[in-house]
Symmetry: D2
Subunit: 264 residues, 4 copies
């Protein structure tokens, strides 16, 4: 970290067991704790350790850091330089991710994100492609934390962690960035004052509508204008395809892998 | 049905078992079949029988009509007047509802919907409140089926099946109607010709973007204009609240139940 | 608590929201914290506060104590008299409950259980009826914690929290007790020395088989002998039915509710 | 099939889409139907086509044969030589697999099984290792169908479909066979006459106990005796390990892969 100038040591552990009885769960936890403490002690000044959790895969009985709670407890013991990393694809069905984000922000323990999208397991699809409203709700929590001046809101590390099998990689990555920009722009559109008034009045649907009204807003014209003002291509996907970067790049690096070519 | 002029006999069965062994699953199926056949034979001319499925609740081991497949098999045996009813809240986690809708439309076996929204179980929330993109995708299948001239697309029965505990009932019902209108309007915005071109070219992300572009469009101004042209209130929720209908109605019918009042 | 001589204040909160935006998640968390602190400060000496978590129902968007992690964080802030209560029916699909039990035991934060069984939501079925192996694995962790001399293993509060709709209440409750006894007896049959040897050797299937061998053992003859030695009825369910307690009790208390009678 | 003397053409299709809009779901279904019909027409006399379904992976938006219902509808259109194949790992959370088995048996459409076990996704673990009671309930349906003389019960193809990463392959495969034998032996222990009496009397818990009593029976001594009477090794796992087959075999085939060796 010192040599490369890296601030964050981002750790995901595949460790776990596949069969009940295969190993002693408390002994594993103790070994995990000891190992992390050793590494934590060697962190450079100002360095952070980000702990990522995941409920299953590759372990199918018990994963050592199975949920945000387990990651959190380890971080708490390690110290303030250890924080939780939230991968959007690492949750059991139904989990309210934005609530976890809000909880971690309140505790100053949100270290960063691995953005992607899922419907079933750790699908690693384009960010916001499967459930755009969920992505927006996560950004809504981030924007509100920033507005409320929470110190931890400024140090969140944003990363994309996808895996593309059937779509062109660069275009897919770019689409994820654009979906994040749109979710962020929509979250910035939330009328936070009106939201607070409705929430405090116990106006269930009124408060819900303040939020959803921002989600329903089409922010694409605004983002196009913004890019033009910055001298950027207004439609990045078209610019990528027309610019020929992907094709040239693929040609220079050799044969394209199956399924990763651009449709022509 | 004959006396009330009802076309559809819409059936949901709570029947099932809570414990393995409690009853003979095949015997139950046979009894179900016999009972449905008796009722089906008594349907008036032009009448339909809609069979609704549900994976659990109140039965927690096996529900007799647990999924669309079981409802479908019964309908097939009964005859063309029996069709499947899709309640959006009656699916296991991860189920792709719009695929079931497309499948049933292709088989001319989609009888109708119970609209609501869920995140966990049969939550019966406001339609489109938990996952608006899913609602849009369902409407996209309906619009495409209509465009393709599928005969069954015209006879789908649209019903709302919600349960309101903490929000005002009328406002919640109205919001569901509006969310359906918006999802439908967005689905009508899909550039179906461009979609087909991209799909046939195997342009994975291009086709996806044709669809999501329609979803990202803000159709609220259009719907407001449409209502004004029809002489209707442009903002139905505001009209409901300001019109005092709900309050008057509540007053006339007696004390409002806890949590069901309008915030003032 | 002082007046009734109660040691444990067991708390489950239905608090949460149904719609995104309905309330400020961080503000709710802060209010929760303040409220719990006030109650905790008033605990009698030696009294405990048990915090129960639940992912959904009645709240369908966000529940304030949604998982063990949220309950744990609150307990940690409150102090050593606050501990987590695990209701077996309050988890998302796939959750490894025995791992949470092991984790909480290691942290001395396991306060107690609400025993029941589920397949879908909070089904509140007879304990061990839906997944007996899961119940056994939970007892395996408890037995191992006791053997390892963990202080917290001795103070776990065991409660049954079921809801009977179609089966006779007393018989169902008794069956839950028997299933717990059997799971406990099987867990006591685990050859812990052999288990440790296999685990330390990395013998995945060997260790798994030491555990499952105990599960496969039929402990019912042993439990019958034990009861006879204690002067108890060897078959408690038969004794209950034949003893007529349930019928007499039902008669004395008035008409039996539908579905709650004993088959004759 | 004719050349190799194979009776069953067992088909699993990875086909599906990752993103909404990526392809036309009804068009895909029509292509699927046409393709299957072409293959079906070429089946040799007495040959069967088994259609396997899977809810997700590798497709993460919509899988063309996503559930038993879709496979069933295709089979029905194809004809009596097409039947559904049930892979125990290919279901959404909470699915009652034995109910699907019972339903397919009643319709004479159960073609076969891919045995394995799962807790999360398509984990492909040792059969019966994660939920032995579920395996038993599946065998209970098979035994009852056989007893009732259902013609289809005799032609079910039993296959094991596992994937071993951390455990020795041969030992794991053998353990799966043994777990199937035990589940089958337990199912044969069900007092079917008593079960029927209790079921017909509406004795919910009594019927459940007839079933679970068979599950709780330790059938290992019986199976050991049976093997000895047949001149087989009474403990097949020990015989495999002590016989040295696996080690010899591994040595002959070259270096053992990491994690696949036998503990010594």
């Amino acid at each position: 970290m010192a040599e490369t100038g890296s601030r964050d040591l981002s750790l995901w552990f595949a460790d776990g067991t596949n069969y009940a009885g295969q190993d002693d769960l408390r002994a594993r936890k103790a070994r995990f704790e000891a190992g992390l403490a050793e590494v934590y002690a060697a962190l450079p000044e100002g360095g952070r350790m980000l702990l990522e959790y995941k409920p299953f895969e590759p372990a199918f009985y018990a994963t050592d850091l199975a949920d945000w709670g387990m990651a959190y407890v380890h971080c708490l013991k390690l110290g303030p330089q250890a924080q939780v990393l939230v991968d959007l694809g690492h949750h059991l069905q139904g989990t309210n991710i934005e609530q976890i984000v809000a909880f971690l922000l309140a505790e100053d323990k949100l270290g960063g994100f691995h953005f992607n999208n899922r419907r079933y397991a750790d699908d690693d699809l384009v960010v916001g492609s499967s459930n755009p409203f969920e992505l927006f709700c996560i950004y809504a929590e981030l924007v509100q934390a920033e507005q409320d001046g929470l110190p931890g809101a400024k140090n969140v590390a944003y990363m994309i962690d996808q895996s593309h099998n059937i779509e062109p990689k660069l275009e897919a990555m770019l689409l994820s960035v654009l979906n994040c920009q749109e979710a962020y722009a929509k979250a910035l559109h939330i009328d936070l004052a009106a939201l607070e008034v409705a929430q405090q009045a116990g106006d269930v649907l009124g408060a819900h509508e303040v939020l959803t009204s921002a989600f329903k807003t089409d922010v694409r014209p605004l983002l196009r204008e913004f890019r033009e003002a910055e001298g950027l291509a207004p439609d990045p996907v078209r610019a990528l395809i027309e610019g020929g970067y992907a094709q040239n790049n693929t040609r220079e690096r050799g044969t394209a892998t199956a399924g990763g070519g651009y449709p022509t």
